[in-house]
């Protein structure tokens, strides 16, 4: 450690320094939501890091409470922690001189059902960020497990976790915003604004998106029956879009980049597709038109598998796209800490580069939010179109026998 660092005097505990300090230390993974962190980086960190690099390294000498085993910065773990769901909105952690930590976190309700113990509901603050057991349950790596009286994990008790986690709460907020937005829009239309007069304000922003979904997603893929599926496609589009956009806010949860989220949308798409199939669709699966008999037999398992791979592709595509963006941004941010561990100069020098790349990816993520909403809705429309369509294209190539 540099001599200057040894002589460093810590500022008063209530100074801004302590607000920034956790972001700079190796306990990065236990701090706030990554996006808050990111925007903070963009705004202030580069300057701050240059001026107070000494203090950063001085702080590293201080063994944080219970962190002896986590002394090395583990980017993989940190990133996975940040894109994962959590039982609280964790914004920051303050580390005090005596080694204790203050967490800036919003506790969320925990709702559990266990066949043995029945329902129980309480606030996640009772776990004290994973330190304590409460009501016979304990938080282990953000997963709730049942514990016995002595505090050991009880494998025999099955726990179904219906908690209002970070993702659930943020999704509900996003949906309330969406519903409020759309219903207030609808009310405006009902009063005649936008019908007999030109649309105004928000209508001008949302109306083109609605007409885009109608004219470029529903109509070309579903043909004359598009009216029936338009509300569903609009809901999918805005559901993904509003959640992806709200997920862009610093400190917010990674709602769309979660396999459960995409799985639900894929499952619903699958249900919609299956319930709207016609005879032509099934004939196409079990007796592929226009090919010789052996190929027909060969096509049956392939086509049957296709029924399931289509929604599965929807699930994986959305999940991978949304998660990948977050991981890339976090990776760029993590680079700062990796380089800082190597040498102070490298860390300082790499910070602007890292931030520039992170900001670039962030902007791309905004684009991706729209693109993914479009692609999900468009592919769903294509799959529904295949299910309800007449498959004229095969007949065009090779007429029926």
């Amino acid at each position: 450690m540099l001599p200057a660092a040894k002589n460093f005097k810590y500022p008063p505990a209530n100074s801004l320094f302590y607000l920034f300090q956790p972001y700079l230390c190796r306990k990065f993974q236990s701090s706030m939501g990554f996006k808050w962190f990111k925007s903070f980086m963009v705004a202030a960190l580069s300057l701050f890091l240059v001026s107070s690099a000494q203090s950063v390294f001085a702080q590293h000498e201080e063994p944080a409470e219970g962190s002896a085993t986590e002394e090395k910065f583990n980017p993989g773990e940190a990133i996975l922690h940040h894109i994962a769901d959590s039982h609280e909105f964790h914004f920051f952690s303050l580390k005090h001189d005596d080694g204790t930590q203050t967490h800036g976190a919003l506790p969320l309700p925990v709702i559990l059902y266990s066949p043995q113990r029945g329902f129980s509901a309480f606030m996640s603050s009772n776990f004290h960020h994973g330190r304590d057991a409460y009501n016979g349950y304990k938080l282990e790596h953000d997963k709730i497990v049942a514990v016995d009286a002595s505090g050991n994990v009880d494998e025999s008790v099955k726990v179904y976790d219906f908690s209002m986690t970070k993702n659930v709460v943020q999704m509900l907020i996003a949906l309330i915003v969406l519903v409020w937005l759309m219903i207030s829009m609808a009310k405006k239309y009902k009063t005649g604004q936008g019908v007999t007069s030109a649309p105004r304000g928000l209508q001008n922003a949302i109306e083109p998106v609605i007409t885009f979904v109608r004219d470029d997603i529903a109509k070309p893929n579903l043909g004359p029956k598009y009216q029936k599926f338009l509300p569903y496609l609009l809901t999918i589009f805005f559901f993904i879009l509003i959640n992806a956009i709200l997920g862009m806010f610093p400190g917010s949860a990674n709602v769309t980049g979660n396999i459960a989220f995409t799985a639900v949308l894929g499952l619903i798409a699958f249900i919609v597709i299956i319930f709207n199939t016609n005879g032509h669709y099934w004939q196409h699966i079990f007796w592929f038109p226009g090919v010789p008999l052996p190929v027909k037999i060969l096509m049956i398992p392939v086509e049957l598998m296709g029924v399931f791979t289509k929604p599965f592709a929807l699930i994986v595509r959305l999940f991978a796209n949304m998660t990948a963006g977050h991981i890339v941004i976090l990776s760029f941010i993590s680079l700062i800490f990796i380089f800082s561990e190597m040498s102070k100069v490298a860390g300082v020098a790499f910070t602007p580069v890292s931030i520039a790349f992170a900001v670039f990816i962030y902007l791309i993520e905004i684009l991706v939010a729209f693109i993914q909403a479009y692609i999900f809705a468009n592919l769903t429309a294509i799959f529904i179109g295949e299910a309800i369509g007449d498959h004229h294209f095969e007949e065009d190539v090779q007429p029926h026998h």
Binding site: L80, I83, A84, D85, I111, H141, K143, Y160, D161, F162, S163, M164, T165, N167, V168, M171, L172, L175, L178, V179, M182, I183, M185, A186, Y189, K190, G194, V195, T196, E207, I210, T211, R214, L230, P231, Y232, L234, T235, F238, F239, N258, I259, A260, F261, A263, V264, L265, L267, I268, T323
Partner: protein, 164 residues
């Protein structure tokens, strides 16, 4: 991999939330919005169609007007031509008539003049004859005023008659 195993609670809440949001939005947002948009599009399409119709009507009216105008112009020309013809005809007729009248008057006048002339001449002739007779009478009275002179004349007359 914790990343790839969906959480039951989150899965459940999303499913519930999606279904509720879908139903709510379908009933209270998408239906009125789409209906309004369709209505407006129809309104605009109708307005454009009626504008086109009015435009066509206007064009038709204009062409009608123009044809009417042309017709009127033609009629006017026709009228003018006819008027001119009539005028010419009347003038000509009048001229003819005047000429005829004039010639008739002239002829009458000439006739009258001739008649008067004849009458005058007759009068003059009668007067002259009378005067000749009177003169002759007077001359004869004087020349044959003695028996010898009568004799002489009878002899000359008798001498002039040559008996063949």
């Amino acid at each position: 991999m914790g990343l790839l195993t969906p959480d039951l609670g989150y899965f459940f809440w999303i499913f519930v939330a999606f279904v509720v949001v879908f139903l709510v939005l379908k009933k209270f947002a998408w239906k009125p919005i789409i209906k309004s948009l369709n209505e407006r599009e129809q309104n605009i399409a109708g307005a454009i169609a009626s504008a086109e119709k009015v435009k066509a009507e206007m064009a038709q009216l204009q062409s009608e007007n123009e044809s009417l105008l042309a017709k009127a112009r033609e009629e006017r020309a026709q009228l003018l031509k006819e008027a001119r013809e009539t005028k010419d005809k009347i003038v000509n007729e009048a001229k003819e008539q005047a000429k005829a009248e004039a010639s008739k008057i002239i002829a009458d006048a000439q006739q009258a003049i001739n008649a008067q002339k004849m009458a005058a001449l007759t009068d003059v002739k009668n007067e002259v004859g009378k005067m000749v007779i009177e003169v002759s009478e007077k001359v004869l009275k004087q020349q044959l005023a003695g028996a010898d002179k009568q004799e002489a004349y009878i002899n000359s007359l008798v001498n002039s008659i040559k008996l063949n």
